[in-house]
Amino acid sequence: MPETEEAQRTAVDLDRDYVREVFRAMLRSRLLENKLSSLYKAGKIVGGVYLGKGQEAVSASLGASLIKGRDIFAPLIRDQAGRTAFGEPLIDCTRTYLGSVLGPMRGRDGNIHRGRPLDGMPAMISHLGAAVSVVGGMLIARRLKGELAGVVGATCVGDGATSTGAFHEGLNMAAVERLPMVVVVGNNQFAYSTPTDRQFACEDLLDRAKGYGVGGHSVDGTDLLACTRVIGNAVKLAREGNGPQMVVARLLRLSGHGEHDDGSYVPPVLKDSQLGRDCIETGIVQMIETGFATVEEIERWKRDFTDEVQAAVAQAQQEPTPDPWDEDWRALSTQTGGGI
C-alpha cells in the first residue's frame, strides 16, 4: 500500500508531537462538527452550520504549525480543525453557534464568523478573500513595531475564493511587501455547487504562485502525513524569511456547502476517487503505522473528545442568550451622545 510506504518514509523526518497535535485536533474537530450537524438537524441551531469535513488534515496542519500568542491565523468557513489546533477553545464554537452571550461574538454574529482578534485570530466576514489583506495588515503592523521577527500570519481560502479580487489584491500586496504569510487554498472541487471548471481555467491553481511571486506547494489534502510535511514546511519557509507561501491542497468537501445542502451535485465518481478519501480514516491508519499513536490511544481520545464536546454544548445551552433590552446597540466605540 502506498499509504504504508509514505507513512514509513515520512515517519523518519516528521516531528511526532506535531503530527499527534494535528491528528488530535482533526479528531476533536470532527467529533464537534458531527455534534453541530445533529444539533442543526434537531433545530437547535439558528442560521447555518458549515463544516470542514474532509479538510481537517489541511486545516489542522496549518493551525498546529503556528505559535499561539505570537502568530496570526485567520480561519475561514471550513477551519474548525485549524482553529482547534491554534488553541481556540471548543466553548468559543458552541457558544457562538448556540448564541450564548458569553461567547466572543455575544450573539452579534454567529457560527463560523467568530474570532479573537487580539489573540491573533481575526473574525472572518462572509466576503471571500477579504482576510488575506487583513492578515497582511497585521504583519505590516508587526513590522512597523519591530516585532515581526519569527512571526507568521496564515489564512485559508477555498478554490472559489481564488476568483475574487480581494484574494488577488491581498496576496499580491503580501508578495510586494514580502510578508511572512502562508495562504492555504483548500481546493475542495466545489464552491457551493460550482465545480472548478466554472471557477478557473488554469490547469492547476498552484501555477498562480509563480504569477504572484510567492512560494508554491501542492499537497494531497486527504493524506495527513503529507499535509503535516508540506504545510509545516511552508510555514517554516515563511518564518525563515522566504516571503509568502501558497499551498494548494487537493481534496473533496465531504459535506454540503452547509448542513442545509445535501451536496447531491457531487458526482459519485469524485467521491470514490483519491480526492474523496476521508483524511480522518487515512490519518488513523497512518498514525498507527508510524507508531505515532496506538489504537487504544485513539479510542481514548475519541471518548475524551466526545465528552469535551458534550460538555461544551451543555454549557453553552445553559448560558443566557442576548437580551435586546440590555443590548447597547452601538456600532461605534466612540460615545456620540446617542446622535447618529
Binding site: 489583506s133 487583513v134 497582511g136 495588515g137 497585521m138 508587526r142 512597523l144 500586496m173
Partner: protein
C-alpha cells in the same frame, strides 16, 4: 504667508507622524512622489518606512488598515480619488464598519477620500461618496470645509478609536487659503454657524459651504436678506440640534449638497427637520443637489451639474417667497 487646504492636510499628517508612533500612511504614489495632490509631499523622507506606496489595490489597502488597526496602529489610507473607494467598499462597510460591533475590538483607521468635482475631471474623478458611507453603522464620516477644519478634523479623526471616512474636497485644495491654521476646534459631531442670519437657513457641508456663503452675500446685496449658513462639518454623526436651532430662528430650510440628488445627506437633513421641527417651519423645506447624471467632463457642463451661487439664489428666493 498663507496656508492652503491641502497644506493643512499635509501638516496634520506631519504632526501625527511626528507625535504618534502608531501612525503610518499607505496609499498609491504617496511615498517619494508625494501623492497625486501632494498631500504627503516630503513626508516619506522625513519619516522613513512610515509612508508606504501601495499597489493599485483599494480593497487590500483597507483590509490592510483593518489588520494594522487590530494590532494597535493608526493607519491613514489615502485613496487617490474618492471614486476609487468603490473598489474598497466591501472592506470599508463590511470589514471595518462591523468590526467593533461584532468583536468588541475597535479598528481606529482613517480613510482620506479626495472628493468632489473640479472642472475637467469627469465622471470618475469627481464623486462625493459621503452618503454611501454614512448609511452604514460603524463609521464616522467627516467633510471639512475650512483650512482649519481640514487640519483639526484630521487630527481628531486619527485620535478616534473608530474608522473615520475623511472627505476632503479637491476643489478646495489650493483655492482655499487661510492666513494661518487656527479655528474654534469644535469637536467632530458639532456643526458650525458659518454665517449668521435670520430669514432662511442653508445647511451645507464641504465645498458647498462656500457656494452658500456666496449666494448669501448676493441676496444680502440684492434684497437685504440675511441668510444663515450652517456647516455640518461631519455628516455622521449629524448635528441636528444646531440645524433645528437655526431653523427655529429662520423658519426656512434649504439643504444643499454637491452629491447626487437621490437620498443622501440633504434628504437626511430635511427628513429630520420635518420629523423633529415641523412646527418650526414657515415654508416647505427645500433640497438642492447635483443633477441626476454622472458628473460631466466639460467645464461648462460640470458648472451646470453642481449647485452654483446662481441656482442657490434661485432656490432661496423661492423659499423666501413662499
Amino acid at each position: 504667508m498663507s496656508v492652503t487646504y491641502v497644506d493643512a492636510i499635509r501638516e496634520a499628517q506631519e504632526k501625527l507622524l511626528r507625535e504618534d508612533p502608531r501612525v503610518f500612511l499607505y496609499g498609491q504614489d504617496i511615498s517619494k512622489f508625494g501623492g497625486a495632490f501632494k498631500a504627503t509631499k516630503g513626508l516619506a523622507e522625513e519619516f522613513p518606512g512610515r509612508v508606504l506606496d501601495s499597489p493599485i489595490s483599494e480593497d487590500a489597502m483597507i483590509g490592510m488598515a483593518v489588520g494594522a488597526a487590530i494590532e494597535g496602529m493608526r493607519p491613514i489610507i489615502e485613496m487617490q480619488f474618492a471614486d476609487f473607494s468603490s473598489i474598497a467598499f466591501n472592506q470599508i462597510v463590511n470589514q471595518a464598519a462591523t468590526h467593533f460591533y461584532r468583536t468588541g475590538v475597535p479598528v481606529p483607521l482613517t480613510v482620506r477620500l479626495p472628493s468632489g468635482g473640479t472642472p475637467g475631471s469627469g465622471p470618475f474623478h469627481s464623486q462625493s461618496m459621503e452618503a454611501l458611507y454614512a448609511h452604514y453603522p460603524g463609521l464616522i464620516v467627516v467633510t471639512p470645509a475650512t483650512v482649519s477644519d481640514a487640519y483639526h478634523m484630521l487630527l481628531d479623526a486619527v485620535a478616534l478609536d473608530d474608522p473615520v471616512v475623511y472627505c476632503e474636497h479637491k476643489f478646495l485644495y489650493r483655492w482655499l487659503k487661510a492666513p494661518r491654521i487656527n479655528g474654534d476646534q469644535l469637536p467632530i459631531g458639532k456643526a458650525r454657524i458659518t454665517r449668521p442670519g435670520k430669514h432662511a437657513t442653508v445647511v451645507a457641508y464641504s465645498a458647498m459651504v462656500h457656494e452658500a456663503v456666496r449666494a448669501a452675500d448676493r441676496l444680502k446685496e440684492q434684497g437685504g436678506w440675511e441668510i444663515e449658513v450652517v456647516d455640518l462639518r461631519s455628516v455622521k454623526p449629524l448635528d441636528i440640534d444646531t440645524v433645528l436651532a437655526s431653523v427655529a430662528r429662520t423658519g426656512r430650510l434649504l439643504a444643499l449638497g454637491e452629491a447626487f440628488p437621490w437620498g443622501g445627506v440633504t434628504a437626511e437633513v430635511v427628513s429630520r427637520v420635518c420629523a423633529d421641527g415641523f412646527h418650526l417651519l414657515d415654508a416647505p423645506p427645500r433640497r438642492l443637489n447635483s443633477r441626476d447624471t454622472p458628473v460631466p467632463y466639460h467645464p461648462k457642463l460640470w458648472a451646470a451639474h453642481r449647485p452654483t451661487p446662481e441656482t442657490i439664489c434661485i432656490a432661496l428666493r423661492e423659499l423666501l417667497s413662499f
